[in-house]
């Protein structure tokens, strides 16, 4: 076993998490008895796990300082300025319509673990991150859930798992970020109606009532459990639009 292979295969991570089989564990232990670097990595990894397990807060994406990122940030600012200008021209969302899109935590889609969400193996990092994210989701820690689900989906795009990321972002009050995962979730045959329902809520929060109504129509026509709720919401949106006038 060579250091490069150990680092590339995440052997140290597997060792401290107790995920290696006996043979792999013993081979690695024999290696680090003679390797200062790998042993140091084991000690740091053990301490880091202990620290995060006992209260150090998981950090969300931060601001990197490399030149490439600074350039990218400048580009993003330019785009944001252009979008901002466009948004200035666009009428502000009607508060009554936007309020219809607000998602309370109690309205989040329930999570029922099923084989459809599992990864191919226990060592599948994307599935592991998803499962841990869903533990946070079920406990109501939506920031932690969104962070883990985003990491999971960055490793492996998954339509079904995207529903929960989109919903969590929506409940956290970030409808713009919720759009993309909800769009992806709506391509999942079993989740089309449910995803469209939450997508409609995101559109409403953004004041995009017409698109919300389109999405709600799909939910109504699907005739699934949310059809009645979608019809009721669509009626409220139409009423709010009528009251607002042309």
């Amino acid at each position: 076993m060579r250091c490069e292979e150990i680092h590339d295969r995440g052997i140290i991570q597997g060792y401290v998490a107790g995920r290696l089989d006996d043979r792999e564990r013993e081979t690695f232990e024999e290696h680090f008895f003679g390797c200062d670097e790998c042993h140091e990595a084991v000690e740091v990894a053990t301490a880091v796990r202990e620290g995060f397990a006992s209260g150090a807060r998981a950090p969300g994406p931060g601001i990197a300082r490399s030149r490439r990122v600074v350039l990218a940030a400048a580009a993003v600012l330019l785009i944001a300025a252009a979008v901002g200008f466009y948004e200035l021209l666009r009428p502000a969302p009607d508060p009554r319509i936007a309020a219809l899109g607000t998602l309370e935590r109690a309205e989040l889609p329930p999570y029922l673990p099923s084989p459809a969400f599992r990864g191919p193996t226990e060592a599948d990092s994307a599935a592991r991150l998803f499962e841990t994210g869903m533990e946070a989701y079920v406990e109501g820690d939506l920031e932690e859930a969104a962070e883990l689900l985003q990491s999971s989906l960055a490793l492996e795009p998954h339509a079904g798992r995207s529903l929960y990321l989109g919903s969590a972002l929506l409940a956290l009050g970030d409808p713009r970020a919720a759009l993309q995962p909800l769009e992806l979730a709506s391509t999942h045959p079993a989740l089309t109606e449910r995803s469209r329902y939450y997508l409609a809520r995101a559109y409403l929060q953004l004041g995009r009532a017409e698109e919300a109504l389109e999405a709600l129509t799909v939910v109504e026509e699907g005739g699934a459990e949310l059809a009645q709720e979608a019809r009721r919401l669509a009626d409220m949106v139409r009423q709010a639009m009528e009251d607002r006038g042309p």
């Binding site: 995440g10 991570q13 597997g14 042993h39 000690e43 740091v44 880091v48 202990e50 990491s151």
Partner: protein, 176 residues
Amino acid sequence: MMQAVDHPARHDDEARLVARFEGRVRSVAMRSVHPDWVDDVVNEVLGAVIEALRVGRVRNPGSLPAYVYGVTRNVISNWARSEVRARSVANHGSAPVAETATPLQLLLDGERRDAVVGCLRALRRADRRLLYLSFYRGLTPTEVAKVLDITPNVARQRLWRARKRFKEKWRGRHAL
């Protein structure tokens, strides 16, 4: 921990051996036996290795790491067997086995945890995130690279630096 030996040069060699292998033996022991017994296992392993060196059982210095690891596995196997025996006796109501940590252990564990959390909080956010994804969430460098949208090589380098900075902070508070 270890008994003093007569010859100063030998004493230095043995102290170096303890410094080099104590953490390694502890790393293995803490994953294999009850926490109450880790110190005893470490002492037994290092004692046995020093004894073997004194009587010339290990002649090739290059084979020392493998030898120490072999002794570690043997000692752990013996302890694991006695742990099973002790549990079996305890289950029959004769000799209770202490399963809970002592107040002193709890205090030391608490201090260590606080020190680790302090070091993590003192790191830059980017370093903390790398360590979190890699060592807490168990992602390989290639997976970390995907999550952070960087190349695997950059992920490896940054992880190495984050580990180094964590260790520097940790050294200031606690010995790894």
